[in-house]
Subunit: 308 residues, 2 copies
């Protein structure tokens, strides 16, 4: 059994999974007995990346404190996005690229957050700082994380550092970043084998703003109407989540990865803030968000400010 | 007027001041218009260091938001230790070596915390990562910070990284670390020109644990009895602070920098936890803490756990 778990957020995306695997590899090279784990099911995009680079799926662990007393968080820091029993273990490191909130420790720790587009971009620096060579499979996984988080470098979260890191990693991995990236995103946007329940939880994150709780789910699609066409059924499921989690707002975002726009369905007693916050009309609980692809940079801060 | 302020914590110590100056220098070299500021009076130790390396005192600024909209925090992250109007500005970076608590942002930022003995040890890495040469005066200031925080490498917070950084910086600064460090600590421990009010606020920090608020003040001394001999007068002042800040516990620590022990005066309605927490007898509101020199590592976590 390992001493330390390395974990990404709930409803894991490609960055959370690939960064957990790559950082656990780095820590193992440095002499720590670390194991990457996952807190939920893998999406089709991540499965595509793991298969391409022959990486094993991390083990699914629900309650980390039953196996370890120390963990490392990658790609998140907010406790409500982490393991359900995160309060029962010691967080010894965090590597992240999100805002910092709902995070507190008793002791000093290694906390490395940078305002870049992807955790893996920071990990590449850590490999270099620790003078550990990046093997081809790990390079492929980290590249996948950057291509995913940056939507092929088109997201406003993407920085020159992400582009440079991806270029370097693509060379080590021996793949063409643009070609591989599009294939990976398309695999992720293939929603044909997904139930509506799957879509709801595929990539959904909960946030707090002032006294309000809100959740933002995001689904990438080639054909947005494939999802929006089932709005009535989606709303029933969204209302169930709102009731269960006592949310004030649930925003379900469908992002067109070819045209880089999004459509969102908004429900909850605070849904009225959306029109003013995004300066866009909500018709039939639905709002068009031209040019919006980043939950982190274009959605969460806007909702947070409107609710605070 | 500068665009960005770089600031350490209230009741600044040598690390807070010297790291603010050194990091502002680095940011200026990288093209940012940054100014180091201070939130309070300088202690004798810091004055000694600034004079030795011909550095100007940072400007005293009480309300940062009246001059800038963005700040960088060094040597702290907890909001109650920062500028009183910290909530009105954007924190764009944090470089720190303390626990993380009471810190929250709306947007991603550069947050670099490492479990080392001194902020300046991390700063030396940042100079290197950014390929900026450390001039002799900045090296001297960073060295002073490390010698101060580590009590000449004798504090349990001191890591091999701090020792290595100090060695490198001493060479650049052209001083003998041991000899200079002892002179600097002695200058700081010269309490002859200090009033009791000065002693109370020289290096005092406020913390939260569960629903409780506590403060820990620390004074370095060559002759502990010089301070403890005035316990009755000190207690009157401590009670005033307790009432004003609604503290549950105030711990006033006097550290013998030659023998590396401490004596603490404890007051407040939660003072009863001290005996159990430190496994030591409190007699006449006073407790002997053999081998205890580090507030961060040997006092705050112990009180936090006992209060939580």
């Amino acid at each position: 059994m390992s001493n330390v778990f390395v974990l990404g957020h709930q409803n894991p995306d490609t960055d959370s999974i690939c960064s957990a695997i790559s950082y656990a590899y780095l820590k193992n090279q440095l002499g720590m007995d670390a194991e990457p784990i996952r807190l939920g099911d893998l999406n089709n995009e991540t499965l595509f990346a793991l298969e391409k680079f022959s990486a094993a799926e991390p083990r699914l662990v629900k309650r980390v404190s039953e196996e370890v007393s120390q963990v490392i968080l990658v790609d998140h820091n907010e406790r409500q996005q982490s393991a359900e029993d995160i309060g029962d273990v010691q967080v010894i490191e965090v590597i992240d690229h999100h805002r910092i909130a709902n995070f507190e420790t008793t002791d000093p720790l290694y906390f490395r957050a940078e305002p870049v587009g992807c955790t893996a971009t920071i990990l590449l620096k850590l490999f270099k700082e620790n003078e550990v060579e990046v093997p081809a499979d790990m390079a492929g996984l980290m590249l996948s994380a950057i291509l995913s988080d940056s939507l092929l470098f088109k997201s406003p979260t993407c920085t020159p550092q992400d582009v440079a890191a991806a270029k370097e990693l693509a060379e080590i991995a021996g793949v063409d970043a643009a070609e591989y990236g599009l294939a990976m995103l398309k695999a992720g946007a293939d929603l044909s084998n997904k139930t509506l329940e799957d879509l709801m939880s595929l990539d959904s994150k909960e946030f707090e703003a002032g006294d309000h709780r809100f959740e933002v789910a995001q689904v990438n699609a080639i054909d947005v109407n494939e999802v929006i066409g089932r709005q009535a059924e989606l709303e029933v499921l969204m209302e169930q989540v709102i009731a269960k989690k006592e949310l004030d707002l649930f925003t379900f975002v469908v992002t067109d990865i070819l045209n880089n726009d999004s459509v969102a369905i908004v429900l909850g007693k605070k849904a009225g803030i959306i029109e003013g916050a995004f300066k866009a009309s909500v018709v039939d609980n639905r709002v068009l968000l031209p040019g919006v692809v980043s939950r982190k940079k274009q959605i969460v801060p806007v909702i947070t400010e409107a609710l605070s």
